[in-house]
Protein backbone atom coordinates (compact mmCIF):
# COMPACT_ATOMS: atom_id res chain seq x y z
CA UNK A 1 0.00 0.00 0.00
CA UNK A 2 2.81 2.32 1.01
CA UNK A 3 4.64 1.56 -2.23
CA UNK A 4 1.50 2.44 -4.18
CA UNK A 5 1.21 5.84 -2.47
CA UNK A 6 4.89 6.54 -3.08
CA UNK A 7 4.49 5.66 -6.74
CA UNK A 8 1.44 7.90 -7.06
CA UNK A 9 3.33 10.74 -5.35
CA UNK A 10 6.26 10.35 -7.72
CA UNK A 11 3.94 10.39 -10.75
CA UNK A 12 2.18 13.49 -9.40
CA UNK A 13 5.49 15.28 -8.84
CA UNK A 14 6.74 14.36 -12.32
CA UNK A 15 3.49 15.47 -13.98
CA UNK A 16 3.43 18.70 -11.98
CA UNK A 17 7.05 19.51 -12.74
CA UNK A 18 6.50 18.77 -16.42
CA UNK A 19 3.47 21.08 -16.45
CA UNK A 20 5.50 23.86 -14.83
CA UNK A 21 8.36 23.41 -17.30
CA UNK A 22 6.00 23.33 -20.31
CA UNK A 23 4.07 26.42 -19.19
CA UNK A 24 7.32 28.31 -18.64
CA UNK A 25 9.09 27.23 -21.79
CA UNK A 26 6.21 27.44 -24.29
CA UNK A 27 6.11 31.27 -24.42
CA UNK A 28 9.89 31.32 -24.75
CA UNK A 29 9.70 28.86 -27.62
CA UNK A 30 6.93 30.93 -29.17
CA UNK A 31 8.93 34.13 -28.70
CA UNK A 32 11.96 32.44 -30.22
CA UNK A 33 9.87 31.25 -33.16
CA UNK A 34 8.52 34.76 -33.71
CA UNK A 35 12.02 36.16 -33.65
CA UNK A 36 13.07 33.43 -36.05
CA UNK A 37 10.14 34.27 -38.39
CA UNK A 38 11.13 37.94 -38.31
CA UNK A 39 14.78 37.25 -39.14
CA UNK A 40 13.79 34.68 -41.72
CA UNK A 41 11.47 37.18 -43.44
CA UNK A 42 14.23 39.77 -43.55
CA UNK A 43 16.65 37.23 -45.02
CA UNK A 44 14.06 36.28 -47.62
CA UNK A 45 13.63 39.88 -48.75
CA UNK A 46 17.40 40.39 -48.80
CA UNK A 47 17.66 37.42 -51.14
CA UNK A 48 14.94 38.86 -53.40
CA UNK A 49 16.63 42.27 -53.36
CA UNK A 50 19.98 40.78 -54.26
CA UNK A 51 18.40 39.01 -57.25
CA UNK A 52 16.64 42.22 -58.32
CA UNK A 53 19.87 44.25 -58.13
CA UNK A 54 21.58 41.70 -60.36
CA UNK A 55 18.69 41.60 -62.85
CA UNK A 56 18.72 45.38 -63.16
CA UNK A 57 22.31 45.28 -64.40
CA UNK A 58 21.94 42.26 -66.64
CA UNK A 59 20.72 41.87 -70.20
CA UNK A 60 17.22 41.23 -71.45
CA UNK A 61 16.19 37.64 -70.85
CA UNK A 62 18.08 37.32 -67.56
CA UNK A 63 16.23 35.22 -65.05
CA UNK A 64 16.38 34.30 -61.36
CA UNK A 65 14.59 31.51 -59.56
CA UNK A 66 14.48 31.53 -55.76
CA UNK A 67 12.92 29.01 -53.38
CA UNK A 68 11.22 30.81 -50.48
CA UNK A 69 9.55 29.75 -47.25
CA UNK A 70 7.71 32.48 -45.35
CA UNK A 71 6.01 30.11 -42.90
CA UNK A 72 2.77 31.61 -41.65
CA UNK A 73 3.69 35.02 -43.04
CA UNK A 74 2.29 36.24 -46.33
CA UNK A 75 4.57 36.94 -49.29
CA UNK A 76 3.09 39.59 -51.58
CA UNK A 77 4.19 40.60 -55.06
CA UNK A 78 2.57 44.02 -55.54
CA UNK A 79 3.38 44.78 -59.16
CA UNK A 80 1.02 47.75 -59.20
CA UNK A 81 3.06 49.36 -56.41
CA UNK A 82 6.45 48.05 -57.67
CA UNK A 83 6.98 46.29 -54.33
CA UNK A 84 7.70 42.91 -52.75
CA UNK A 85 6.21 42.56 -49.25
CA UNK A 86 6.04 40.13 -46.37
CA UNK A 87 3.29 40.57 -43.78
CA UNK A 88 3.66 38.99 -40.33
CA UNK A 89 0.79 38.93 -37.84
CA UNK A 90 1.14 39.22 -34.07
CA UNK A 91 4.05 41.64 -33.83
CA UNK A 92 4.33 44.77 -31.72
CA UNK A 93 7.94 45.58 -32.45
CA UNK A 94 7.63 49.15 -33.71
CA UNK A 95 5.31 52.07 -33.14
CA UNK A 96 2.09 51.80 -35.15
CA UNK A 97 2.21 53.97 -38.24
CA UNK A 98 6.01 54.18 -38.20
CA UNK A 99 8.26 53.03 -40.99
CA UNK A 100 11.89 52.18 -40.37
CA UNK A 101 14.53 51.32 -42.94
CA UNK A 102 17.12 48.58 -42.67
CA UNK A 103 19.25 48.58 -45.82
CA UNK A 104 16.84 48.39 -48.72
CA UNK A 105 14.14 46.84 -46.55
CA UNK A 106 11.45 49.06 -45.05
CA UNK A 107 9.48 47.84 -42.04
CA UNK A 108 6.23 49.38 -40.87
CA UNK A 109 3.97 48.47 -38.01
CA UNK A 110 0.26 48.80 -37.60
CA UNK A 111 -3.07 47.17 -37.28
CA UNK A 112 -5.62 47.35 -40.05
CA UNK A 113 -6.35 49.43 -43.11
CA UNK A 114 -9.50 49.08 -45.15
CA UNK A 115 -9.15 49.32 -48.93
CA UNK A 116 -12.55 48.94 -50.52
CA UNK A 117 -14.85 50.09 -53.30
CA UNK A 118 -17.90 52.02 -52.11
CA UNK A 119 -20.99 53.02 -54.04
CA UNK A 120 -21.90 56.69 -53.79
CA UNK A 121 -25.36 58.21 -53.69
CA UNK A 122 -24.96 59.51 -57.26
CA UNK A 123 -24.39 55.98 -58.52
CA UNK A 124 -20.64 56.37 -59.00
CA UNK A 125 -18.05 54.23 -57.23
CA UNK A 126 -15.18 55.46 -55.08
CA UNK A 127 -11.97 53.66 -54.20
CA UNK A 128 -11.61 54.19 -50.47
CA UNK A 129 -8.62 53.86 -48.13
CA UNK A 130 -9.53 54.09 -44.46
CA UNK A 131 -7.75 53.67 -41.13
CA UNK A 132 -8.67 54.92 -37.67
CA UNK A 133 -7.43 58.44 -38.46
CA UNK A 134 -8.00 59.14 -42.13
CA UNK A 135 -10.36 58.36 -44.99
CA UNK A 136 -9.09 59.05 -48.50
CA UNK A 137 -11.14 58.38 -51.62
CA UNK A 138 -10.56 58.57 -55.36
CA UNK A 139 -13.09 58.10 -58.16
CA UNK A 140 -13.11 54.68 -59.74
CA UNK A 141 -12.28 55.23 -63.40
CA UNK A 142 -11.90 52.56 -66.09
CA UNK A 143 -9.59 49.60 -65.58
CA UNK A 144 -6.21 48.27 -66.77
CA UNK A 145 -7.82 46.79 -69.89
CA UNK A 146 -10.50 49.43 -70.13
CA UNK A 147 -8.96 52.89 -70.18
CA UNK A 148 -11.24 55.81 -69.75
CA UNK A 149 -10.95 59.59 -69.65
CA UNK A 150 -9.11 60.62 -66.50
CA UNK A 151 -8.29 63.99 -65.00
CA UNK A 152 -6.06 64.19 -61.94
CA UNK A 153 -7.50 67.61 -61.09
CA UNK A 154 -10.87 66.11 -60.15
CA UNK A 155 -10.10 62.56 -59.01
CA UNK A 156 -9.95 63.00 -55.21
CA UNK A 157 -13.50 62.84 -53.91
CA UNK A 158 -12.90 62.89 -50.18
CA UNK A 159 -10.12 63.48 -47.66
CA UNK A 160 -11.40 63.11 -44.10
CA UNK A 161 -9.63 63.80 -40.84
CA UNK A 162 -11.51 61.33 -38.67
CA UNK A 163 -10.19 62.77 -35.38
CA UNK A 164 -11.86 66.10 -36.03
CA UNK A 165 -14.63 64.89 -38.33
CA UNK A 166 -13.61 67.36 -41.02
CA UNK A 167 -13.85 66.41 -44.67
CA UNK A 168 -12.36 68.35 -47.56
CA UNK A 169 -13.00 67.82 -51.25
CA UNK A 170 -9.80 69.13 -52.77
CA UNK A 171 -9.12 69.94 -56.36
CA UNK A 172 -5.80 68.32 -57.10
CA UNK A 173 -3.39 67.78 -59.95
CA UNK A 174 -0.34 65.83 -60.97
CA UNK A 175 1.91 67.56 -63.50
CA UNK A 176 5.07 66.30 -65.15
CA UNK A 177 7.53 69.08 -65.98
CA UNK A 178 4.68 71.46 -65.12
CA UNK A 179 2.99 70.79 -68.44
CA UNK A 180 -0.73 71.51 -68.02
CA UNK A 181 -1.67 68.75 -70.46
CA UNK A 182 0.17 66.13 -68.41
CA UNK A 183 -2.54 66.14 -65.73
CA UNK A 184 -5.21 64.47 -67.83
CA UNK A 185 -5.74 61.97 -70.60
CA UNK A 186 -6.80 58.34 -70.69
CA UNK A 187 -6.14 55.77 -68.01
CA UNK A 188 -7.64 54.17 -64.95
CA UNK A 189 -7.73 54.01 -61.16
CA UNK A 190 -7.69 50.82 -59.12
CA UNK A 191 -7.08 49.46 -55.65
CA UNK A 192 -3.90 47.39 -55.67
CA UNK A 193 -5.47 45.09 -53.04
CA UNK A 194 -9.07 44.97 -51.83
CA UNK A 195 -9.36 44.00 -48.19
CA UNK A 196 -10.64 45.21 -44.85
CA UNK A 197 -7.60 44.04 -42.89
CA UNK A 198 -4.25 44.97 -44.39
CA UNK A 199 -1.22 46.85 -43.08
CA UNK A 200 -1.43 49.37 -45.91
CA UNK A 201 -3.71 50.01 -48.84
CA UNK A 202 -2.92 51.69 -52.14
CA UNK A 203 -4.77 53.28 -55.00
CA UNK A 204 -3.00 53.24 -58.35
CA UNK A 205 -3.80 56.01 -60.81
CA UNK A 206 -2.49 55.41 -64.34
CA UNK A 207 -2.50 58.35 -66.73
CA UNK A 208 -1.56 58.29 -70.41
CA UNK A 209 -1.72 62.04 -70.70
CA UNK A 210 -2.61 64.30 -73.58
CA UNK A 211 0.93 65.69 -73.33
CA UNK A 212 2.27 62.30 -74.45
CA UNK A 213 3.64 61.53 -71.01
CA UNK A 214 2.44 58.46 -69.10
CA UNK A 215 2.85 57.72 -65.41
CA UNK A 216 1.51 55.86 -62.40
CA UNK A 217 0.59 57.71 -59.22
CA UNK A 218 0.27 55.52 -56.14
CA UNK A 219 -1.55 56.83 -53.07
CA UNK A 220 -0.82 54.69 -49.98
CA UNK A 221 -2.41 54.79 -46.55
CA UNK A 222 -0.72 52.78 -43.80
CA UNK A 223 -2.32 51.70 -40.57
CA UNK A 224 -2.22 54.32 -37.80
CA UNK A 225 -0.84 56.92 -40.23
CA UNK A 226 -2.33 60.40 -40.32
CA UNK A 227 -1.06 61.05 -43.83
CA UNK A 228 -1.40 59.63 -47.32
CA UNK A 229 1.85 58.83 -49.08
CA UNK A 230 2.02 59.70 -52.80
CA UNK A 231 4.67 58.53 -55.24
CA UNK A 232 4.66 59.08 -58.99
CA UNK A 233 6.27 56.15 -60.78
CA UNK A 234 7.04 54.84 -64.26
CA UNK A 235 7.20 58.24 -65.94
CA UNK A 236 7.60 57.79 -69.68
CA UNK A 237 7.88 60.39 -72.45
CA UNK A 238 8.91 63.29 -70.22
Amino acid sequence: MKGLIEAALVVAIVVGATAIVVSTVTPLISQGKSQQDFISAKNTLSEVDSAMQQLMLEAVGSRRQIDLDVGTGKFIVAGDEEKFKIRLEGYQTIEPGSTIQEGNIQIRGGSAVEAVEEEQSDGSTDLVLRNSLVTFAVKKIGGPSNWSQINTTSMITQFTNRRTGTTVHPKSGIFINDKPLSSAGFGYTQLTTQSSNIASGSIEVFVNSTAGISYDAVFTLSSASDFVDLQVLNIHGA
Binding site: Q65, V77, E89, Y91, E95, R108, I176, F227
Partner: protein, 241 residues
Protein backbone atom coordinates in the same frame (compact mmCIF):
# COMPACT_ATOMS: atom_id res chain seq x y z
CA UNK B 1 57.82 44.48 -104.85
CA UNK B 2 54.68 44.23 -106.97
CA UNK B 3 53.64 41.30 -104.86
CA UNK B 4 53.95 43.37 -101.69
CA UNK B 5 51.92 46.22 -103.16
CA UNK B 6 49.28 43.74 -104.33
CA UNK B 7 49.21 42.18 -100.84
CA UNK B 8 48.82 45.59 -99.16
CA UNK B 9 46.07 46.60 -101.63
CA UNK B 10 44.25 43.33 -101.02
CA UNK B 11 44.48 43.81 -97.25
CA UNK B 12 43.09 47.36 -97.46
CA UNK B 13 40.30 46.23 -99.76
CA UNK B 14 39.24 43.55 -97.31
CA UNK B 15 39.23 45.91 -94.29
CA UNK B 16 35.76 46.98 -93.06
CA UNK B 17 34.83 50.36 -94.40
CA UNK B 18 34.85 53.05 -91.70
CA UNK B 19 33.14 56.41 -91.93
CA UNK B 20 33.89 59.48 -89.92
CA UNK B 21 30.96 61.23 -88.35
CA UNK B 22 29.11 63.03 -91.08
CA UNK B 23 26.86 65.90 -90.12
CA UNK B 24 24.74 65.24 -93.21
CA UNK B 25 24.07 61.68 -92.16
CA UNK B 26 20.57 60.68 -91.22
CA UNK B 27 22.08 58.96 -88.20
CA UNK B 28 22.82 62.29 -86.63
CA UNK B 29 20.25 64.81 -85.55
CA UNK B 30 20.15 68.00 -83.63
CA UNK B 31 17.38 68.39 -81.11
CA UNK B 32 16.19 71.64 -79.73
CA UNK B 33 15.81 71.08 -76.03
CA UNK B 34 13.98 73.43 -73.77
CA UNK B 35 15.06 73.64 -70.14
CA UNK B 36 13.08 74.96 -67.22
CA UNK B 37 14.77 77.36 -64.89
CA UNK B 38 18.08 76.84 -66.60
CA UNK B 39 19.39 80.32 -65.83
CA UNK B 40 20.42 83.08 -68.21
CA UNK B 41 20.96 82.89 -71.95
CA UNK B 42 24.28 83.10 -73.68
CA UNK B 43 24.72 85.98 -76.06
CA UNK B 44 24.89 83.95 -79.22
CA UNK B 45 22.37 81.26 -80.10
CA UNK B 46 19.80 81.28 -77.36
CA UNK B 47 21.11 78.17 -75.66
CA UNK B 48 20.97 78.06 -71.88
CA UNK B 49 24.24 78.33 -70.06
CA UNK B 50 25.51 74.82 -69.46
CA UNK B 51 26.60 75.36 -65.88
CA UNK B 52 23.10 76.29 -64.79
CA UNK B 53 21.29 73.49 -66.60
CA UNK B 54 22.71 70.84 -64.34
CA UNK B 55 21.44 72.49 -61.20
CA UNK B 56 17.78 73.15 -61.71
CA UNK B 57 16.98 72.32 -65.30
CA UNK B 58 14.33 69.88 -66.37
CA UNK B 59 14.40 68.51 -69.87
CA UNK B 60 11.26 68.68 -71.96
CA UNK B 61 12.42 65.88 -74.25
CA UNK B 62 13.30 62.29 -73.49
CA UNK B 63 16.11 60.12 -74.87
CA UNK B 64 18.23 63.15 -75.58
CA UNK B 65 21.88 64.01 -75.09
CA UNK B 66 23.91 67.06 -74.29
CA UNK B 67 27.17 67.09 -76.21
CA UNK B 68 30.38 69.02 -75.87
CA UNK B 69 32.25 68.34 -79.08
CA UNK B 70 32.21 64.57 -79.50
CA UNK B 71 31.67 63.96 -75.78
CA UNK B 72 27.99 63.33 -75.09
CA UNK B 73 26.06 62.76 -71.88
CA UNK B 74 22.55 61.43 -71.61
CA UNK B 75 20.16 63.58 -69.63
CA UNK B 76 20.04 60.79 -67.10
CA UNK B 77 23.81 60.98 -66.65
CA UNK B 78 23.51 64.71 -66.11
CA UNK B 79 20.68 64.12 -63.68
CA UNK B 80 18.28 66.12 -65.81
CA UNK B 81 15.28 64.06 -64.95
CA UNK B 82 11.65 64.97 -65.05
CA UNK B 83 10.00 67.11 -62.44
CA UNK B 84 6.79 66.06 -60.69
CA UNK B 85 4.40 68.60 -59.22
CA UNK B 86 1.43 67.81 -57.00
CA UNK B 87 -1.25 70.38 -56.34
CA UNK B 88 -4.12 70.59 -53.88
CA UNK B 89 -6.66 73.39 -53.77
CA UNK B 90 -8.82 73.21 -50.63
CA UNK B 91 -10.46 74.93 -47.74
CA UNK B 92 -11.48 73.39 -44.42
CA UNK B 93 -14.35 75.54 -43.23
CA UNK B 94 -14.02 78.31 -45.77
CA UNK B 95 -14.11 80.91 -43.02
CA UNK B 96 -11.66 83.44 -41.64
CA UNK B 97 -10.32 81.04 -39.03
CA UNK B 98 -8.10 79.28 -41.58
CA UNK B 99 -4.36 79.82 -41.89
CA UNK B 100 -2.17 78.86 -44.82
CA UNK B 101 1.60 78.69 -44.66
CA UNK B 102 4.83 77.46 -46.21
CA UNK B 103 7.27 76.88 -43.35
CA UNK B 104 5.83 79.78 -41.34
CA UNK B 105 5.79 82.11 -44.34
CA UNK B 106 2.81 83.44 -46.25
CA UNK B 107 1.67 83.21 -49.86
CA UNK B 108 4.46 83.02 -52.38
CA UNK B 109 6.83 80.96 -54.49
CA UNK B 110 9.70 79.36 -52.62
CA UNK B 111 12.86 77.63 -53.80
CA UNK B 112 14.69 75.23 -51.44
CA UNK B 113 17.10 77.95 -50.34
CA UNK B 114 14.19 80.19 -49.27
CA UNK B 115 12.85 77.84 -46.57
CA UNK B 116 14.18 75.26 -44.14
CA UNK B 117 11.16 72.96 -43.76
CA UNK B 118 9.62 71.85 -47.00
CA UNK B 119 5.86 71.82 -46.62
CA UNK B 120 2.70 73.75 -47.42
CA UNK B 121 -0.24 73.60 -45.07
CA UNK B 122 -3.74 74.86 -44.30
CA UNK B 123 -5.24 74.62 -40.80
CA UNK B 124 -8.37 75.89 -39.13
CA UNK B 125 -8.12 77.16 -35.55
CA UNK B 126 -11.89 77.65 -35.49
CA UNK B 127 -12.41 73.89 -35.28
CA UNK B 128 -11.53 71.96 -32.10
CA UNK B 129 -8.11 70.23 -32.28
CA UNK B 130 -7.12 72.54 -35.17
CA UNK B 131 -7.29 70.17 -38.18
CA UNK B 132 -4.51 70.56 -40.70
CA UNK B 133 -4.08 69.41 -44.29
CA UNK B 134 -1.04 69.87 -46.46
CA UNK B 135 1.64 68.62 -48.79
CA UNK B 136 5.00 67.66 -47.30
CA UNK B 137 8.07 67.10 -49.47
CA UNK B 138 9.67 63.74 -48.67
CA UNK B 139 11.67 63.02 -51.80
CA UNK B 140 15.26 63.47 -52.88
CA UNK B 141 15.37 66.99 -54.35
CA UNK B 142 12.81 69.75 -53.95
CA UNK B 143 12.18 72.02 -56.92
CA UNK B 144 9.79 74.58 -55.44
CA UNK B 145 6.77 75.13 -53.20
CA UNK B 146 4.06 77.57 -54.16
CA UNK B 147 1.15 78.80 -52.04
CA UNK B 148 -1.62 80.95 -53.45
CA UNK B 149 -4.82 82.42 -52.10
CA UNK B 150 -7.66 81.34 -54.35
CA UNK B 151 -9.88 84.12 -53.04
CA UNK B 152 -12.59 83.59 -55.62
CA UNK B 153 -13.09 80.09 -54.29
CA UNK B 154 -12.27 80.89 -50.62
CA UNK B 155 -9.56 78.24 -50.81
CA UNK B 156 -5.80 77.84 -50.88
CA UNK B 157 -3.71 76.38 -53.67
CA UNK B 158 -0.65 74.41 -52.54
CA UNK B 159 1.91 73.21 -55.10
CA UNK B 160 4.94 71.11 -54.26
CA UNK B 161 7.36 70.31 -57.08
CA UNK B 162 10.30 67.90 -56.91
CA UNK B 163 12.66 65.90 -59.08
CA UNK B 164 11.05 62.69 -60.26
CA UNK B 165 13.83 60.48 -58.95
CA UNK B 166 12.70 59.05 -55.58
CA UNK B 167 9.84 61.54 -55.49
CA UNK B 168 7.51 61.33 -52.51
CA UNK B 169 4.75 63.57 -51.20
CA UNK B 170 3.10 63.15 -47.79
CA UNK B 171 -0.47 64.46 -47.56
CA UNK B 172 -1.23 64.91 -43.86
CA UNK B 173 -4.72 65.10 -42.40
CA UNK B 174 -3.80 65.64 -38.80
CA UNK B 175 -4.46 67.72 -35.70
CA UNK B 176 -2.58 70.43 -33.85
CA UNK B 177 -2.36 72.78 -36.83
CA UNK B 178 0.45 73.51 -39.23
CA UNK B 179 2.84 74.05 -36.31
CA UNK B 180 2.47 70.36 -35.42
CA UNK B 181 3.48 69.35 -38.95
CA UNK B 182 6.42 71.76 -38.80
CA UNK B 183 7.54 70.35 -35.45
CA UNK B 184 7.86 66.85 -36.95
CA UNK B 185 10.12 67.96 -39.80
CA UNK B 186 12.57 66.95 -41.04
CA UNK B 187 11.22 63.43 -40.67
CA UNK B 188 14.08 60.90 -40.58
CA UNK B 189 11.73 57.97 -40.05
CA UNK B 190 8.22 58.03 -41.48
CA UNK B 191 5.97 58.43 -38.46
CA UNK B 192 2.49 59.81 -37.84
CA UNK B 193 2.45 63.58 -37.31
CA UNK B 194 0.33 62.93 -34.20
CA UNK B 195 0.40 59.26 -33.11
CA UNK B 196 -2.96 57.68 -32.40
CA UNK B 197 -1.82 55.54 -29.48
CA UNK B 198 -3.41 52.42 -30.96
CA UNK B 199 -1.68 49.06 -30.64
CA UNK B 200 0.02 47.39 -33.54
CA UNK B 201 -0.66 43.73 -34.15
CA UNK B 202 1.19 43.20 -37.39
CA UNK B 203 4.20 44.34 -39.33
CA UNK B 204 4.84 44.58 -43.01
CA UNK B 205 8.33 44.61 -44.46
CA UNK B 206 8.85 45.51 -48.08
CA UNK B 207 11.23 46.29 -50.91
CA UNK B 208 10.31 49.19 -53.17
CA UNK B 209 11.54 49.71 -56.76
CA UNK B 210 9.93 52.95 -57.94
CA UNK B 211 11.88 53.06 -61.20
CA UNK B 212 11.38 49.45 -62.24
CA UNK B 213 8.15 48.15 -63.72
CA UNK B 214 7.36 44.93 -61.87
CA UNK B 215 4.70 42.84 -63.59
CA UNK B 216 2.67 40.45 -61.47
CA UNK B 217 0.42 40.40 -58.40
CA UNK B 218 0.53 37.44 -56.00
CA UNK B 219 -0.12 36.61 -52.36
CA UNK B 220 1.11 33.32 -50.95
CA UNK B 221 2.09 31.72 -47.63
CA UNK B 222 4.43 28.82 -46.85
CA UNK B 223 6.86 27.43 -49.40
CA UNK B 224 7.01 28.74 -52.97
CA UNK B 225 9.31 29.38 -55.90
CA UNK B 226 9.77 32.95 -57.08
CA UNK B 227 10.74 33.41 -60.72
CA UNK B 228 11.83 36.81 -62.02
CA UNK B 229 12.74 37.56 -65.63
CA UNK B 230 13.78 40.73 -67.41
CA UNK B 231 11.82 41.14 -70.64
CA UNK B 232 12.53 43.11 -73.80
CA UNK B 233 10.97 46.29 -72.40
CA UNK B 234 13.09 46.07 -69.24
CA UNK B 235 10.15 45.07 -67.11
CA UNK B 236 10.72 42.44 -64.42
CA UNK B 237 8.06 39.81 -64.95
CA UNK B 238 7.38 37.86 -61.76
CA UNK B 239 5.77 34.49 -61.32
CA UNK B 240 5.15 32.61 -58.09
CA UNK B 241 4.58 28.86 -58.13
Amino acid sequence: MIGKIFLAATFLALCPVAFAADTNSSNLSVLNLEFDAGGGYTNSTGFQMFSTIGLNGAARAGNAYVCVGYLCFSLEQLNLRAVVTFLMDLNISGTGSENATVDGKGFGFYRPSDISKYFACVDDVGIPSDPAYGIVFSGRQLNYIDLENNSGNHSYIMRVSQMAEDNRFLLPATIGGCSQISSRLPMITLMPFVPSGETANAIEMFLSYPFIDIVGNYEKTGKMTLIMEKNSTNQIVVDVI
